[in-house]
């Protein structure tokens, strides 16, 4: 067993090849840590102008007219555009994620006649500086016809609710149902049924770097170049082409350094279109950089769902059925990914358990709020929160231990591939992970200490959650059958240069997660080279091959890595053929090792990669007769199904019942993401995602008034944790290679965020067990914790009057 207290030993156990599994320090870190990284806000172009958006101050209103005359007259202002200016040539914002029954919710780069949320772009000012653009913005006069607004789903679903889209009969933009087994029979026969209503608040990805776009139109030939803070290079390219009416191959999208994305930068935004339009109209480069207050209103929000769910079980703790009714709060329009995350919540409602009977229903509800979209984990943290809290509820009803109830219901290892509500799970040994977590956490010891601490008046609780993460999104055909016009494949272009060094071109984006390191390590492993000899080029549609999807869904290391492996396989064969010719050796006797092709067992007989490169491009006569010059491969990998990593969070918290403040006493985390390519990066992904999960559980909330007015505009209102609030994680890894991904990698990018909210909530509920409260709402702010305790106390007084 790996010693979790020593990273060095832990990392040694994770190394499965020369380079795969090696804790190589990230190639970009010196640049980033010394402030040398260049982000959108660092880029300038000759003659570049600056943009500022006028945004709607009203949650719901018709626009009678917009008067831009005074703004246009301000010296230094080059243009002011409104929805009316864009209408003749610019299409509605695309929604590439389209599924059956999804309604069309048209919205535009600049609102035409109606706004549906505070922050919706209404006009665009282009000026010599951002200062002047903001001065001019104040001079724009909008004649508003304010409409009644809905600030929450209850109000939106009321029979007399104002309708966001005229002609609709209600505010539901789409619904979905899925069922398996005989749910009614399971519930009728159950010994115990637990019913809970879970409320997950509105939060968002909130990357350190906001969004930005720099657009430059070249009239001859008619080409658009856009530097964009996107995670999805080709989604941006396709959507720009579609909205602006330009052939996609004439749109070049470039991605500089990204300061995080967390899914919010997967989306395609109105600003991308409006700024590109402005550049085309004016004939000069235009840049817009999102400021922090804008980010809260204009970058997609996420997570907000209400889940009414029930779980049925037998007296011996076998879970026999799940029912869930899910409401997703979509905001004012369906954004790039529509209600995809809510759908994922619905189909993940059986989690890792062998539950034969399940029925889920979802409604995607429009409200007068910022549109809903992607954030690390998509709909999985919500589903995990609901299922894991229900499992805790069943355990409490039956007097079973929280670990034991889980162990009794896992999908057993011999049932894989396992067909869940929608997905097929590839592999897993869940009980092994649970056992390891029990040991790592010192669970039994904590239970003893908990009893002791309770007797001292301290409120200590232990929470556990088990998660599974859907990664390596695919296969492409299945996505299409689900109605989504996107692929799950990735293409890698690997080229050996004349120097013998290697360049990899990929459509994946480096958003700070370190994907270029992972691809270089995979390539280094396959070609027997040092990763320092391998350059990875990302973020340029003109150079990089197309990705079916983009960087999201924890797919880069698994799908992108497998594509690189495949391309390296082709190249390796050609390298060996060349070397065999040069060394007069048999191909079967050759191996690629330490930057050279070597004859096994004969250390003197070798040819360097530099010699191979020279032969391939410059000294063609060294190649075997009839062989074409050049040494490169372009290969596609389309995953046959998804890969499913999994893991366990064990959390120990103490609650100060007077102030409601939660502090962490311990946090143990065990996971299995298949083959680990770089353990430093994997650890970092877990740390960051767990921090975001803890933050979702305790801190973050985008609060709106009932009328749809946002009550947030700065970090004074929207609480993010600092390093102080995040406990030291004790990590351990199991490694069960995925049987369906060459190399055995599974994704890991979202893992930490999925199970942590449920575990933290479970720990708080356990700490407050003396009060008998249920923790079904997030975030558990100090105020809400105190209110829960007060509620329980007054209920107790009411039922047992002194």
């Amino acid at each position: 067993m790996v010693n979790p207290t020593s990273p060095a030993l832990r990392y040694a156990a994770m190394q499965s090849g020369t380079w795969v599994g090696k804790p190589v320090e990230r190639r970009e870190d010196v640049e980033l840590l010394t402030g040398a990284g260049r982000f959108i806000a660092d880029l300038t172009r000759p003659g570049m102008l600056h943009a500022a958006f006028l945004r709607s101050p009203l949650p719901h209103a018709n626009i009678r007219s917009v008067d831009t005359a005074a703004a246009k007259a301000l010296p230094g202002v080059h243009a002011v555009f409104t929805g009316a200016d864009l209408a003749p040539t610019i299409g509605q914002q695309p929604t590439p994620h389209r599924v059956w029954g999804q309604k069309d919710t048209p919205y535009y780069a600049l609102a035409r006649d109606r706004v549906r949320y505070v922050g919706e772009p209404v006009a665009l000012v282009i000026a010599d500086s951002r200062y002047l653009a903001e001065d001019a913005r104040e001079l724009i006069e909008v004649d508003w016809d304010s409409l009644p607004a809905v600030g929450n789903m209850d109000a939106s679903l009321a029979s007399d609710a104002p309708l966001l889209y005229p002609g609709w009969t209600n505010n539901v933009a789409g619904s979905f149902d899925q069922e398996m087994g005989d749910v009614d029979a399971a519930f009728a026969a159950a010994d115990v049924v637990v019913s809970r209503r879970f409320s997950i608040s509105r939060i968002f990805g909130c990357p350190l770097e906001g969004r930005g776009v720099l657009a430059e139109w070249e009239p001859t030939p008619q080409e658009l170049t856009v530097w964009s803070s996107t995670q999805a290079l080709h989604v941006a390219q396709d959507c720009l082409a579609e909205t602006l009416g330009i052939p996609a191959h004439r749109v070049r999208v470039l991605v500089p350094r990204l300061g995080g994305g967390f899914g919010s930068k997967f989306h395609f935004y109105p600003e991308d279109v409006a700024v590109s339009f402005a550049s085309r109209e004016i004939g000069r480069p235009v840049r817009w950089v999102e400021d922090r207050s804008e980010a809260f209103l204009s970058t997609v929000h996420a997570r907000q769902e209400v889940i009414s769910a029930e779980m049925a079980a037998t007296a011996d703790g076998r879970i026999t059925g799940v029912k869930a009714n899910i409401l997703g709060d979509m905001g004012g329009a369906l954004h790039t990914m529509a209600y995809g995350p809510v759908w994922l919540t619905a189909v993940m409602m059986t989690n890792v358990y062998e539950i034969p009977n399940a029925r889920v229903h979802l409604d995607a509800v429009l409200t007068n709020k910022t549109p809903f979209g992607s954030y690390r984990g998509w709909g999985q943290p919500q589903a995990n929160f609901a299922v894991e809290r229900l499992v805790d509820g069943v355990a409490a009803e039956l007097g079973l231990d929280r670990f034991e109830i889980r162990r009794r219901n896992f999908i057993p290892p011999d049932r894989f591939p396992y067909r869940s509500l929608h997905h097929v799970f590839d592999s897993g040994d869940y009980a092994a992970a649970l056992d390891r977590a029990l040991e790592l956490a010192g669970y039994q010891e904590w239970r003893i200490r908990q009893t002791q601490m309770r007797s001292e008046g301290r409120h200590v609780g232990i929470g556990v959650s088990f998660y599974v993460e859907n990664t390596a999104l695919g296969p492409s055909r299945l996505l299409n059958e689900g109605g989504v016009d996107q692929g799950g494949y990735d293409i890698a272009h690997v080229r050996v240069e004349p120097s013998g060094d290697v360049t990899i071109y990929t459509g994946l984006c480096d958003m700070g997660q370190g994907v270029t390191n992972a691809l270089a390590q995979v390539c280094a492993q396959e070609l027997g080279m040092d990763p320092d000899q391998i350059t990875v080029v990302t973020g340029d549609t003109q150079m990089c091959p197309r990705t079916g999807y983009g960087t999201g869904a924890s797919r880069s290391a698994a799908v992108g890595g497998a594509a690189v492996m495949k391309a390296c396989g082709v190249i390796r064969n050609k390298i060996k053929a060349i070397a065999a010719h040069m060394l007069e050796a048999d191909v079967a006797d050759l191996e690629l090792k330490e930057g050279a092709v070597r004859v096994k067992g004969d250390p003197k007989s070798h040819v360097s990669m530099a010699d191979i490169g020279r032969a391939a491009y410059l000294r063609i006569k060294d190649l075997p007769e009839g062989m074409d010059p050049g040494l490169q491969a372009v290969e596609v990998f389309d995953p046959p199904q998804m890969a499913w990593p999994y893991g366990v969070n064990v959390v120990v918290v103490e609650v100060d019942i007077e102030t409601g403040v939660v502090s962490f006493l311990d946090y143990a985390y065990v996971h299995d993401c298949g083959t680990v390519v770089n353990p430093l990066i994997v650890d970092g992904q877990i740390h960051g995602a767990v921090a975001q999960g803890i933050s979702m559980a305790l801190h973050e909330e985008l609060i709106y008034s009932d009328e749809g007015q946002p009550l947030f505009s700065t970090f004074m209102d929207y609480v993010l944790p600092t390093a102080v609030e995040i406990p030291r994680l004790r990590l351990d890894h199991l490694m069960t290679p995925s049987p369906i991904i060459p190399g055995g990698m599974k994704g890991v990018g979202e893992a930490g965020v999925i199970g942590s909210p449920a575990a933290v909530a479970g720990a708080i509920e356990d700490a407050l067990a003396p009060f008998g409260v249920q923790v079904d709402e997030l975030p558990m702010t100090p105020d809400r914790i105190v209110a829960l305790i007060d509620g329980a106390r007054s209920q107790r007084m009411a039922s047992h009057p002194a």
Binding site: E658, T659, I703, T722
Partner: protein, 294 residues
């Protein structure tokens, strides 16, 4: 997030600064550390036509001891200095304790004592601490006019003081009190966030460890920083025990005028004010006892 145009002056002397202010009137604002004003400018919530920057006026910065019984803190003294200055740590360690709760080190390194006091955010620590320490506020106006105000006179409402147009806060002076014990604590959503409630306590004890007087100042609790001088019938001459603490808690509960916002309801703030009172007062008493016997 860019400010509208404004004129900017950075004078070297306080006389110069006062003269500029006298000539411009209400359209001018003084800028100190800028940790509150600059965001307000960028969000265009404050729109002064002219800024007078005090950062070059050396005489406004620093902690000094004008006489053995007094500590003077210049208005342009950085909040971070409260944590590192030896005079402060000798005489008012509690100021260092409270300063740690002001935002983060980077902000405290720029933010000033005077800036925080003149901004008078009800959730800010320093205004409440000045009430607790019974500080005197020394101001300057053009023409050599200077006023001395008690903390109570200085703070009149949320973000509102009795500083007049053209008047600059020059310093605060605090009488040293070796026989008094102090303590401060705070509950915030996260490290560095504004206080949900912060509480500072001061206590004097007699030779037999009986309580002579006690007071508790709160930030974040109400729409202004507030000081509760505990009624002498509760504290004077009483032994410090659980019964007394219960009386104090009841008094805080009754006295509090809690506010609500998106972070916490008034009921919560009242509850936390009581909880903090129960924590800081015993510590202040303990420190007073140590002081009295040493």
């Amino acid at each position: 997030m860019k400010p509208p145009p404004f004129e900017y002056h950075a004078p070297d002397t306080i006389e110069e600064a006062l003269a500029i202010l006298a000539n411009t009137g209400e359209e001018a604002r003084v800028i100190a550390g800028g940790q509150s004003l600059v965001p307000l400018l960028n969000m265009r919530l404050a729109r002064p036509e002219l800024l007078v920057d005090l950062n070059r006026i050396a005489s406004l910065a620093g902690v000094s001891q004008p006489n053995p019984d007094m500590i003077r803190i210049g208005a342009m003294t950085r909040q971070r200095t409260l944590e590192t200055d030896s005079l402060v740590s000798t005489h008012f360690k509690v100021l260092a304790e409270a300063a740690k709760f002001i935002a983060h080190i980077a902000i405290r390194t720029r933010g000033t004592v005077g800036g925080s006091l003149a901004h008078a955010d009800p959730a800010a620590e320093l205004p409440a601490m000045m009430l607790l320490l019974d500080a005197e506020f020394i101001t300057a106006q053009s023409g050599g006019v200077s006023r001395r105000l008690s903390a109570d006179q200085f703070f009149v409402g949320p973000w509102s003081t009795t500083l007049e147009t053209g008047e600059i806060l020059e310093a605060v002076e605090i009488k040293t009190a070796t026989d008094t014990g102090f303590a401060f604590s705070e509950v915030a959503r996260v490290n560095g966030a504004f206080a949900l409630v912060g509480a500072g306590a001061a206590a004097n004890v007699g030779r037999d460890h009986e309580l002579l007087s006690a007071r508790i100042a709160f930030c974040g609790l109400s729409s202004t920083p507030r000081l509760l001088a505990l009624p002498s019938e509760i504290v004077k001459g009483r032994p410090f025990n659980d019964e007394l603490i219960d009386h104090v808690a009841a008094e805080v509960w009754r006295w509090a005028e809690p506010i609500g916002d998106i972070h916490a309801r008034p009921e919560y703030r009242r509850r936390v004010a009581v909880a903090l009172a129960r924590r800081v007062l015993p510590l202040a008493v303990q420190r007073a006892t140590v002081g009295a016997t040493s």
